[in-house]
Amino acid sequence: MITPVLQIENLTVAYRRGGEWLEAVRDVSFHVHAGETFGVVGESGSGKTTLALAAMRYLGENGAVKAGRITLAGRDLLALSPVEMEPVWGKQIALVPQNPQSSLNPSMLIGEQLAEVLRHQFAMDAVEANRQALDWFERVHMPDPDRVANSYPHQVSAGMQQRVLIATALCTEPQLLILDEPTSNLDVTTQAVILDLVRELIRGRQTAVLYVTHNLGVVAQVCDRVGVLYAGEFVEQASTRELFSQPLHPYTQGLLASVPLLGETKEKIHLWAIPGQIPPLGKLPGGCVFRPRCGLAVQICETQPPLYVSGLKRVSRCHRWEEIQKGEVGDWRVPTVSKVSAPGEDERRRLVLNLDALHVDYPQRPSLKEMLRHRPARKVSAVRGVSLAIPQGRTVGLVGESGSGKTSLARAIMGLTISSAGSMELLEIPLPASLSQRDLATLRHLQMMFQNPEEALNPFLTVGETLRRPLIILLGKSRAEADREVADLLQAVRLPASYAARLPGQLSGGELQRIAIARAFASNPALLICDEPVSALDVSVQAAILNLLLELQAESGSSLLLISHDLAAVGYLADEIAVIYLGSLMEVAQATDLFQTPYHPYTEALLSAIPLIDPTAEQRPIRLAGDIPSPTETPTGCPFHTRCPRFLGEICQKETPPWREVKATSKRYYCHIPEDDLRAVQERLPVFGQPLTG
């Protein structure tokens, strides 16, 4: 039998906190062979980063390995002294960390940082090291390697920084490469490019790769085998294909069923929300750690389940795995019992919000030179002429990468940022641009949910007070009436009435977001804007929040403007989707039509960049060159022409494209290429529930 590069046996890692040891990782065993990619997937607090750091013996001061063995190519790492570990780091084990910005030295040239590693590890002279550093920059497909080598980290984009770190990690040809969420801070189009790069570089090398992530799609696309980590324990281990086709642990099942797949809609599938939340380290339940949240828990689950081994290299830590395997128990994706009304096309709906050519500019402070010469002030155009209508009771999704202007648009609608041109109408009445000019009746009908639940609620006010205020101010209720209604609101978001006395610091992220939802729906608004409602939450909590939004919307008849970078989530919730790039809409279509050809070239790239949660899906790689341009210097003509894979030529640079309507569908897109020409060059991209041979 071949010795695996990394072998971890019964590893237990603990942190010391306030005099007691909390076990963050318990009894974890796995191995990674040369040339193999092993994925560790888990939510925040599951111990995945601890596991990665322990594997390279790089735990902090307060952490220690309490039990188990770690062997690197047959050598016992735990037996080595810190001095003996030093040559192992970098040379044998390399790490690509999560946050490229804080991992590069901001006061050193990028080329020098890579050359330093080469000089140190291979005792190279400076000239040779610099030459090889440039070589490596080319290998990671750095555009213009000379320029990047002579730049400081802040002068290049996050995607480029991540390439530098990948080059730095690989340049010593390590036996084990650990990637800790290398793409989770990147935009989806950049993530796709980096994932391609990782796959290309590890193919043909005998490197063993440990890939740590929370993103199921990334795991499906990159890893050969996967371990699912929950509250510090591996609950399941399997090959990627087996895991995604037939998970044998209720947690894995729940995770997979709680994430909407690309192209899934609320009409077809009901997301399965795992109840509760991950237990904190000090308060682990006895027996099976997943028992309090598990729908299948029975008497036997109160005892700690052993690792059940099934078939070849499959491991599940569930007492009832055999029943799950036979399909006797276990919830799975359940079809929606049509509570959500199907959108009636013929119905003439009242418009709740109508935006016409809305612009949002942020003026820059002029320089002294500009002031003296009376130049017009420079400005950043965050939103450039967006026209969008939201009908009553419908959900419109706004999808874009960071810097696309989606939050600016939301803030302009809310009046928090004053739009510089264009007009807005709420319920067919003109809407003043500034919040101070809006009366209470207008405020009542327009509410917003903020991105970060921890910042959305005042930590010094009790939940009851937070929820009472909109009732008193916007609905004119008395204090006693409001207090009574707070209980109803809490019940509507599935929280006990006793929560009214709690402070936000006593609640979990998911609970906070429920309170934020309750507050937003308190005044029964005509339009609710949700800015990234679930992106700050753990995967297993997201589904519950999405379901709750759907349910409350159905009850209240409010319209939703759902802003997100997550096309799958938007596709699931929204009736209509608008794609935004650099402050301009690129494409607007009904949710079902968006996933059909022809696509706007940007939408096409976006769709093909999303890592599908299905290892068997074959994606056609359409990758975007470069990065999203800075909004201070928006390209002329079509804003997308600098990165467009279907760039035509001069016309794209000089003329603004027309809006084109696609025949027989609801789709319109903003491009010079006519519908038939696009259709001829594009193929249907794989999305859920739509066979490609259709």
């Binding site: 809310m414 928090l416 919040l435 209470l440 405020l443 327009l446 509410q447 917003m448 903020f450 991105q451 970060n452 910042e455 959305a456 609620l457 005042n458 010094f460 006010l461 937070t466 205020r469 909109p470 101010i473 916007l474 006793s498 006395a501 934020a516 507050r519 005044s523």
Partner: protein
């Protein structure tokens, strides 16, 4: 059962504040330095409150026969050239210096908090104008500014308080303003604005609790600087006038006889430094306690 639970979950306001105060002192006494500082501050506070009960003589009571006595069991800190008991003067002077600087610091903190909230929240020309004006005030050394002001408004106990307020308001304003700037763009403030909350409520109910920790630390610091300022002004002979038992003034008077009566100088000077060290350590402890709470 459920009733008791409810009661324990929503205790009365007084109980909450009592608990918070206890917790607060517990934190102050967690580290040795801040424990020493807090103890010193509390002792001086006690002396200021109970001064007349402790002091064996009156502040200006002259025992001519006992003039120029070194420290003894009768006169713990000795007597000065006129025959006044130094210990009694130091003890009785505590109330005056602590009240003057305490009142000054308190008013500076109140006005600074108000201006800081307004300036930080409103922004625009109010902010710009106020900040530039304060910058120009802060460009002058505090003592110089105080001397100029006292020269203008005349020497009295009231004017000393006024000077402390004018000198320290800009500093408090700046501290408060910076906290407001970091809080006002947070989601919950914007959510409150979207719900039509009044500006007063936004400032005092939503934002002010965030300012409180920094303000408490700042209040303690301003207090110690105000003690310093009052003593300095007394030493320079402006502000309070003799025969007031101002520590600074006592040092000034004793300076002339330092060869013969060093005790008359060392004891008031020592009181100044000890109380300032005590209050400063308390401020430091406060800061650390808040940081630990975060």
């Amino acid at each position: 059962m459920t009733v008791t639970l409810k009661v324990s979950r929503a205790p009365g306001a007084a109980l909450i504040w009592g608990r918070r105060l206890a917790c607060f002192f517990k934190r102050l006494y967690a580290k040795p330095l801040s424990a020493i500082g807090t103890t010193i501050s509390l002792i001086f506070l006690l002396i200021a409150l109970a001064g007349p009960l402790i002091a064996p003589y009156g502040e200006n009571e002259i025992v001519a026969s006992d003039a120029r006595q070194p420290p003894s069991t009768q006169h713990w800190f000795g007597t000065d050239n006129l025959g006044r008991d130094v210990f009694s003067r130091v003890v009785l002077g505590a109330r005056q210096i602590l009240v003057l600087s305490g009142l000054g610091a308190f008013l500076a903190v109140v006005s600074g908090a108000f201006l800081g909230l307004l300036s930080g929240y409103r922004g625009g020309w109010i902010d710009e104008g106020l900040m530039r004006f304060f910058d120009s005030l802060l460009a002058l050394p505090a003592l110089l500014l105080a001397l100029v002001l006292l020269g203008t408004i005349g020497h009295s106990t009231f004017s000393v308080v006024l000077v402390i307020v004018i000198v320290y308001t800009p500093i408090v304003t700046r501290v408060v303003r910076s906290v407001v700037l970091s809080v006002k763009s947070k989601g919950f403030v914007e959510a409150a604005r979207l719900q039509g909350e009044s500006q007063a409520r936004l400032l005092f109910r939503e934002i002010f609790p965030f300012v409180l920790p920094a303000l408490a630390v700042e209040a303690a610091l301003r207090f110690s600087y105000a003690i310093f300022l009052v003593a300095s002004l007394g030493f320079l002979g402006v502000g309070v006038q003799p025969p007031n038992p101002n520590w600074g003034l006592m040092v000034k008077e004793a300076r002339n006889y330092v060869d013969q009566l060093p005790w008359a100088l060392y004891f008031p000077a020592g009181a100044i430094s000890i109380v300032i060290i005590g209050v400063n350590l308390t401020a430091d402890g406060l800061k650390r306690a808040w940081q630990a709470a975060d």
